[in-house]
C-alpha cells in the first residue's frame, strides 16, 4: 500500500472476512464525510462496478472500497506536457464516481496544472513538498508528450523543461502511469516531421515500468480502474506488450464492435451519408481501424449515456487512437490492416429468399419415387408370393 496504513484501517473499520452480506457491513459509515454525498450503498456499488471493470470478483469491491477510503489517501502528482488537455477533460466527464470524489476522496491529487487552485511559486512549492513527503510512495501520472529536440525547450514549466520535470518526478514515484496517446508514444505532437522531437514518457523514463492508458482521449474509466487497482492491491494489473492494462486493451475493437455482423455479411458504408452509412453498416471501407486497434471502446462507451456512445457508434470510423503506429500515423480513411479475419471476396445476397413451396416438378419427382417404390414393392411381393407357394408345396410333398 502506498501509505502503509491500509491494513490497520481495514481492521478498524470492520472485519471483512466475517461479512456475509454488505448490509451487515457498518464500518464505512464512519467515513461519511469522505464519500462526497454518496450513500454507503452507492459507494459500495461503485466499487463493485470498478471490480467488474477490472474483471475481478465482485467480492473484491469491498477491498477496493476500503482502500479508497483509507486515509491518508495515496498522493498523485499529475504532470502535463505537450497535450491538448483532453485527457484531463475526459476525467471531468466521469460520474461514477464524479471527479471530485476521485480527487478529494479516493486519491489525493496534489498537483495538476489544470485542476489545482494554486498557481505560480505556491503551486511549484506544493509539488516539491508533496514529492518530498511521499518520496517513493506517490503515483506519477502524465499526459502529453515529452519534447526532446533542442534540449527540450519547447515545453517549460517554472523554468524547468518538461523533460527535467518528469525525470525528477519519476525518481520518487512508486508507479508511473502515462495517460493518453501523446504520453504513451508521442501521439499527435509526434506526427509527420515531429518538429519538437516529441516522444512518449517511456522513451525518457527507462528505469521504471511506465503503464500506458492510450487513447485520444482514453476512456476515463480505464484510468480510474487502473488507479483503484493499484490503490487496492498495491500492484499493477496484467499488462500487454505495449504496457497497456489487459483488462481494457486485451481485445481488438473489431471483436466487440456492434457493427461486426455487417462486416461478416459484407455490408459496408462506402461513403458518409450513403444508404449503408445511414443503415449503420460496417465502416471498414471508410477506413475504420477497429480491426487493428486494441481497446474496449465498444463495450464500455463514453460519457455514461448508454450503448453506442463511441466513435463507430456515432458513424465515424475508428482512427486507432490507442494503437501506436495506427493512430496519428495512418491516414484516417486508409484501409486497416486486418489482424484477424479478412472479409471474403464474395458475399451472400443481403436480401435472402424465404424459400418457395413445393414446385410441380419436385412434386412429380417425389410422387414418381414413391410410386416406383410401391410398384416395385408390389411386384417383388407378388414374386415372393409365388416363391412362398412353391416352398409350401415342396414342404407338403416332403
Amino acid at each position: 500500500m502506498p501509505d502503509g496504513h491500509v491494513d490497520l484501517d481495514a481492521e478498524r473499520i470492520g472485519t471483512l472476512g466475517e461479512c456475509e452480506g454488505l448490509g451487515e457491513f457498518e464500518g464505512l459509515d464512519e467515513y461519511e464525510g469522505a464519500l462526497a454525498g454518496m450513500s454507503r450503498r452507492e459507494f459500495l456499488t461503485y466499487c463493485t462496478g470498478v471490480a467488474a471493470t477490472l474483471g475481478l470478483s465482485p467480492a473484491l469491491g469491498v477491498n477496493i472500497a476500503n482502500a479508497a477510503v483509507a486515509a491518508p489517501r495515496p498522493t498523485v502528482i499529475w504532470l502535463s506536457g505537450q497535450a491538448c488537455t483532453g485527457c484531463t477533460e475526459t476525467l471531468l466527464r466521469t460520474n461514477h464516481p464524479t471527479l471530485e470524489t476521485l480527487i478529494l476522496d479516493t486519491i489525493s491529487l496534489d498537483y495538476n496544472e489544470t485542476l489545482m487552485t494554486g498557481s505560480g511559486h505556491q503551486a511549484e512549492n506544493w509539488k516539491q513538498q508533496a514529492m518530498k513527503d511521499n518520496w517513493g510512495k506517490y503515483l506519477m501520472v502524465t499526459d502529453g508528450s515529452v519534447p526532446t529536440k533542442d534540449g527540450g525547450v519547447y515545453c517549460k514549466v517554472a523554468g524547468k523543461t518538461y523533460l527535467e520535470a518528469v525525470q525528477e518526478c519519476a525518481k520518487g514515484a512508486a508507479a508511473v502511469i502515462s495517460i493518453g496517446s501523446c504520453s504513451s508514444w508521442g501521439g499527435w505532437p509526434s506526427t509527420g516531421v515531429n518538429p519538437t522531437g516529441a516522444v512518449g514518457l517511456s522513451e525518457v523514463i527507462k528505469d521504471k515500468p511506465v503503464v500506458t492508458i492510450p487513447g485520444c482521449p482514453p476512456n476515463p474509466y480505464n484510468f480510474l480502474s487502473l488507479v483503484l487497482h493499484y490503490v487496492a492491491f498495491g500492484k499493477l494489473p496484467e499488462l500487454d506488450d505495449k504496457m497497456r492494462p489487459k483488462f481494457a486493451y486485451g481485445r481488438l475493437i473489431h471483436e466487440n464492435c456492434e457493427r461486426r455482423p455487417h462486416f461478416d455479411a459484407g455490408r459496408f458504408a462506402m461513403e458518409f451519408g450513403d444508404y449503408g452509412h445511414r443503415q449503420g453498416y460496417c465502416l471498414y471501407k471508410l477506413g475504420c481501424k477497429g480491426p487493428e486497434t486494441y481497446a474496449n471502446c465498444p463495450s464500455v462507451g463514453f460519457n455514461d449515456v448508454g450503448q453506442g456512445t463511441w466513435p463507430v457508434g456515432t458513424g465515424h470510423p475508428c482512427f486507432g487512437c490507442t494503437e501506436k503506429g495506427v493512430g496519428f500515423t495512418k491516414s484516417i480513411h486508409e484501409l486497416a490492416t486486418l489482424k484477424s479475419v479478412a472479409p471474403p471476396n464474395t458475399y451472400p445476397a443481403v436480401a435472402v429468399g424465404q424459400g418457395e413451396g413445393i414446385s410441380a416438378g419436385a412434386a412429380a419427382v417425389v410422387a414418381g419415387i414413391a410410386g416406383a417404390a410401391v410398384g416395385a414393392g408390389a411386384v417383388v411381393a407378388g414374386r415372393l408370393g409365388k416363391h412362398d407357394e412353391k416352398a409350401d408345396a415342396s414342404s407338403e410333398t416332403k
Binding site: 424459400g355 418457395e356 413451396g357 419436385a362 417425389v366 416363391h387 412362398d388
Partner: protein, 396 residues
C-alpha cells in the same frame, strides 16, 4: 473371444454380369447426380438446392445423413447379435450387412460434404483445438467418421480374401474383435445423439416428436431399420440372385423386429401420454404425419405377430418394408416435417435437383453393392449359384 470360431460358413463372390439393367439405371442416376454436384460446387448451394437461412437443413441432412445412416445400421445390429450376444447362426448375414453399412455411412459422410456450406473446413472437426467438446454435433460427426473407418476394417477381410493376402488377413483377424466392439459402441453413441441433436432445438420441434426420449427413439429406429434392411436385403438377394431363402434365421430376426417395433410404439404413446400431448395427435399440426408413421409401424408389427407369417418371405418383405418406411418417416418428421427451424414465412420443399442428388447417392449405394457382391466374397457360400470360390477352402 475369437471371431473366427463363429464363422461356420465360407463366403463367395456371386459372379455374373456386371452390366445388368439395374446397374445401368443406377449408374445413369449417379452420373446425373454428379453433373448436379458440379453445379453445386461451381455455383453454390442455392444453384442446386432450395436450402435457405430459414431451412439450413434439407433432405441432404434429413434423408442422406439421418436416414441414410439408419440404413447403414444393418452392420450394427448384425455385429451386435452375432458377436456381442454370441448368436452365431446370424453369421451368414454379417458380411452383406457390414457392406450395406459401409456404403450407408460412407455416403452419409459424402452427403455431409455436399451439404456443408464451408466444406473446405470439414477437417477442423478432427482437430482438438477447434473442438467444442460439449457439442452433440461434434459427437455425431466424429462418431460417424470413426465408424466409417471401423466399417472399412470390418469389411477388409473380404478384400484380403479376394486378393489372397493371407498373412495380413490372419493378423487382422487377431485384432478384429476391437473393431467389432467399436462397431457396436459407436453407432449406439451417434444414433442416439442424432436424437439428442433435436432435443436441443426445443420448441422448434413439434410436441408430437419433441421429448427427452428422442435419443431412445432414434436408437430404437436405428436397430429396427437395421433389422428391416437385413431382412429386406436378404429377401431381395435371394430373389434376384436366385438363392435359397435364409428363412430360419429371418424367422428369428422377425421376432426381434416385432419386439423392437412394439417397444417403440408402446413407448411412443406412453411418452405422449406422460407429456400430456396425446391430444396433439388428434388435430394438432402435422398430426397426419404422426398417424402415417404410426399406422405403418403398427401395420408392420401386426403382420409379424402370427408366427407362421415370419416364415413367409412375402409377409416378411411387406412387413420389413412397412417398418422401414415407418422408421424413415419418423426420422423425416423429426428432422423436417415436424421441425420449424425459424419463425417467419419460410418455406422449404426440396428442389428437383436436390432430390436427384439424394437419389444419385442412394443409386451409387445400390450400384456399388451390386458390383461388390458379384466380385468379392460377401454372400455366404452355402449354396453358391455362381462359380465356387477358392476362398471356401482357405476359410476356417
Amino acid at each position: 473371444m475369437s471371431v473366427h470360431a463363429h464363422q461356420p460358413h465360407g463366403h463367395a463372390a456371386l459372379g455374373g454380369r456386371i452390366l445388368t439393367l439395374p446397374f445401368l439405371v443406377c449408374s445413369a442416376l449417379v452420373v446425373l447426380a454428379g453433373y448436379l454436384l458440379v453445379q453445386r460446387y461451381v455455383y453454390g448451394l442455392a444453384a442446386v438446392s432450395n436450402l435457405s437461412d430459414g431451412y439450413p437443413w434439407g433432405i441432404w441432412v434429413a434423408v442422406d445423413v439421418v436416414i441414410g445412416s439408419a440404413f447403414g445400421c444393418a452392420g450394427y445390429v448384425m455385429a451386435l447379435l452375432c458377436y456381442i450376444l454370441n448368436k452365431g447362426e446370424y453369421h451368414p448375414m454379417v458380411r452383406p450387412a457390414v457392406l450395406a453399412s459401409l456404403f450407408g455411412y460412407g455416403l452419409a459422410g459424402l452427403a455431409v460434404l455436399v451439404d456443408l456450406g464451408r466444406y473446405w473446413n470439414f477437417y477442423h472437426m478432427m482437430l482438438p483445438w477447434y473442438a467444442q467438446p460439449n457439442s452433440v454435433m461434434l459427437e455425431v460427426g466424429l462418431c460417424v467418421a470413426t465408424y466409417t473407418i471401423v466399417l472399412i476394417v470390418e469389411f477388409a477381410p473380404a478384400f484380403l480374401e479376394r486378393f489372397g493376402i493371407e498373412g495380413l488377413r490372419r493378423k487382422l483377424n487377431k485384432v478384429l474383435w476391437v473393431f467389432i466392439a467399436l462397431g457396436v459402441l459407436l453407432p449406439t453413441m451417434h444414433q442416439s445423439s442424432l436424437g439428442t441433436m433435436m432435443v436441443i432445438v426445443g420448441h422448434k420441434l413439434s410436441p408430437l416428436w419433441q421429448t427427452q426420449l428422442l435419443p431412445v427413439f432414434f436408437l430404437l429406429t436405428a436397430v429396427l431399420m437395421g433389422f428391416a434392411i437385413v431382412a429386406w436385403e436378404s429377401v431381395m438377394a435371394s430373389l434376384n440372385f436366385k438363392r435359397e431363402m435364409e428363412t430360419p434365421v429371418l424367422r428369428k430376426m422377425a421376432g426381434l423386429m416385432l419386439v423392437v417395433a412394439s417397444v417403440f410404439v408402446a413407448l411412443r404413446f406412453v411418452d405422449l401420454l406422460w407429456r400430456g400431448q396425446l391430444g396433439t395427435a388428434f388435430g394438432g399440426p402435422s398430426s397426419g404425419w404422426f398417424w402415417v408413421e404410426t399406422v405403418l409401424m403398427v401395420g408392420g408389427l401386426v403382420l409379424l405377430i402370427p408366427k407362421a407369417n415370419r416364415s413367409r418371405s412375402r409377409t416378411l418383405f411387406i412387413s420389413a418394408s412397412m417398418l422401414l418406411v415407418a422408421g424413415i418417416l419418423y426420422r423425416l418428421n423429426v428432422y423436417l416435417i415436424g421441425f420449424t427451424p425459424s419463425v417467419g414465412p419460410w418455406h422449404y420443399f426440396p428442389s428437383v435437383k436436390e432430390i436427384m442428388v439424394t437419389v444419385g447417392i442412394f443409386a451409387l449405394e445400390v450400384a456399388l453393392y451390386l458390383v461388390f457382391v458379384k466380385k468379392l466374397p460377401v454372400m455366404h457360400a452355402e449354396h453358391p449359384v455362381g462359380v465356387p470360390h477358392a476362398a471356401d477352402a482357405k476359410h476356417g
